[in-house]
């Protein structure tokens, strides 16, 4: 297969179909409309299911229904719409159903705007829904990675029986880049737990209601163990120019790209700066930060928010004697590499 010059939104849709996604349920919202539109154009003609639901709330519950039967299923939305899915996300986690949920973030709170932002980090990584659960979060930084992580999201969802959030933003969704798509998946994992009618076997049920406190508690700790296992096995990150760095920027998604541009500039000025880019936001790549902190004592977190991931960086480095600075541009402002490099200079000098 050749590379394709494709937008992020279309790319996710295409990658999902190649990953064996058979059902898509969604409701329009900018800046991710093209994802649903691609599904509308391509799902049905290949025997798949595309359904524009009456709301995001309905969509996530359709996802629950489809997931319960064992199908690979996706929904997508953007910030306000994802808020409406929080109850459903909590149910998916409670049911332990695999599903992929895409959030192309926009500026908020409220209606906010449709520009790229990273203000939903807390909601995504801490569980915006109720109860003791977390949602693993993948945060790609290029259209190619959108493709790769979409496929990975389906695999992880099935492997760990959990909803997975794929997080981008307006820019990631709209921009086109060359992408090499993986071949369509042919073998999908068996799901013996899926409801397919009892047939000749015993009847089964799927419930997130667990009236007995002790049983509920066991379930909660089981989820925690699952997340711990994912933390061991599935944490992803990228290191960029870190080999000889004495100062580390931490950024994800769109911000990480801009940070790379800034680092290139700063390097030209002789600053030994590198980037740690978390790719999984939950589980957060604590270990690499801790490892880096053995050498490097200065960290600078960039986010398109007022400061959310920075808490995870602080938590990761709580036992290290390091300085953690933060620079945020919330509300849909896309900062420039020049701006970031200036900030790097400022904090670098203070080191």
């Amino acid at each position: 297969m050749d590379k394709v010059f494709i937008s992020g939104n279309h790319c996710i849709a295409e990658a999902a179909i190649r990953a064996g996604c058979r059902c898509y349920f969604g409701y329009p919202i900018t800046p991710q409309n093209e994802l649903g539109e691609y599904m509308a154009a391509n799902m049905r003609k290949n025997g798949g299911i595309f359904l524009q639901s009456e709301s995001e709330t309905a969509a996530i519950n359709m996802v629950i229904g489809a997931a319960s039967t064992g199908a690979r299923v996706m929904t997508s939305s953007s910030s306000p719409g994802v808020s409406l899915k929080q109850e459903g996300l909590s149910f998916l986690a409670g049911f332990e159903f695999p599903a992929v949920i895409v959030n192309m973030m926009r500026g908020g709170p409220g209606l906010g705007n449709i520009a790229p932002a990273q203000g939903d980090y807390f909601q995504s990584t801490r569980g915006g829904g109720h109860g003791d659960y977390r949602t693993p979060v993948l945060a790609p930084a290029s259209v190619q990675e959108l493709a790769d992580l979409t496929v990975k999201a389906f695999d992880l969802a099935d492997k760990y029986r959990t909803p997975i959030l794929l997080m981008g933003d307006g820019m990631m969704g709209q921009m086109k880049e060359p992408v090499l798509f993986p071949e369509p998946v042919t073998d999908l994992p068996a799901k013996p737990w899926a409801l397919k009618g009892r047939g000749d076997g015993p009847s089964r049920y799927q419930a997130s209601l667990i009236l007995d406190g002790l049983a509920m508690e066991r379930h909660n700790w089981k989820l925690v163990r699952k997340y711990k296992e994912m933390a061991e096995q599935e944490t992803l990150f990228e290191l960029y120019m870190m080999d000889d760095a004495d100062f580390a920027v931490v950024a994800y998604g769109t911000t990480a790209r801009i940070a790379k541009g800034a680092i290139k500039r700063a390097r030209k000025d002789g600053l030994k700066v590198g980037l740690i880019r978390p790719i999984t936001l939950f589980p957060f790549p604590d270990k690499i930060l801790q490892k880096v902190a053995q050498q490097i004592k200065n960290f600078l977190v960039f986010e398109m928010s007022t400061g959310q991931m920075v808490e995870d960086v602080r938590l990761a480095l709580e036992n290290e004697r390091v300085v953690i600075d933060f620079h945020g541009r919330p509300g849909g402002i896309i900062p420039t590499p020049i701006e970031f490099s200036r900030v790097i200079h400022r904090y670098y000098r203070r080191m």
Partner: protein
């Protein structure tokens, strides 16, 4: 090498198509390329613009706060974006529909009567391809083979359109050089 271009025009002028073909062509030639349309809730209809970046290295930001080139398919676009150009940058505008552009001393301007040339070719709607031909010359990338391959890829199901577009691209390039 990295070239950031802002392409702008009114809705029906095909400015997004232009940039998309260029982005594909750059990819085909083995460059890194990113294309970022502006999208907005504020103005329904009206003008459209996008940023195209072509580079031989990984592209950090697909945004161009200070583009190297502005390609303006109509007067309002030229007016709106000339000030965004980096110092030393280049403005390519469609002189068929542009009467006057603001003055700026630190940039180079290039005009091309795209609609007139298109009419000469017998196809009014290919003004954007004329611009594309000129733009590729101005940017130095991508090469014609890649552009033609890109046309094949994107319009392959409409051979007549490919034919016209090729001609327009060549005409634009020719006029420019």
């Amino acid at each position: 090498m990295i070239v950031k271009t802002l392409c702008a025009g009114s809705g029906g002028q095909g400015v997004m198509t232009l940039a998309n073909i260029m982005g594909n062509a750059a990819m085909i030639q083995g460059f890194h390329s990113t294309y970022l349309p502006s999208y907005g809730a504020a103005m329904r209809g009206g003008t459209a613009n996008c940023t195209l970046t072509i580079a031989d290295e990984e592209i950090a930001s697909p945004v161009a706060s200070a583009p190297d080139i502005v390609v303006a398919l109509n007067q309002p676009s030229a007016v709106a974006f000339i000030n965004r150009l980096v110092s030393g940058g280049k403005l390519l505008y469609n002189s068929s529909v542009t009467e006057e552009i603001p003055k700026r001393q630190d940039i180079e301007t290039f005009s091309i009567p795209a609609n007139d040339l298109a009419t000469e070719l017998g196809n009014n709607r290919s003004a954007n391809m004329i611009m594309l031909g000129a733009f590729a010359q101005l940017a130095g990338v991508p090469d014609n083979d890649s552009i033609f391959a890109s046309l094949d890829l994107l319009m392959g199901n409409k051979p007549a359109l490919v034919e016209i577009s090729r001609k327009a691209v060549l005409k634009g390039a020719e006029y420019f050089s």
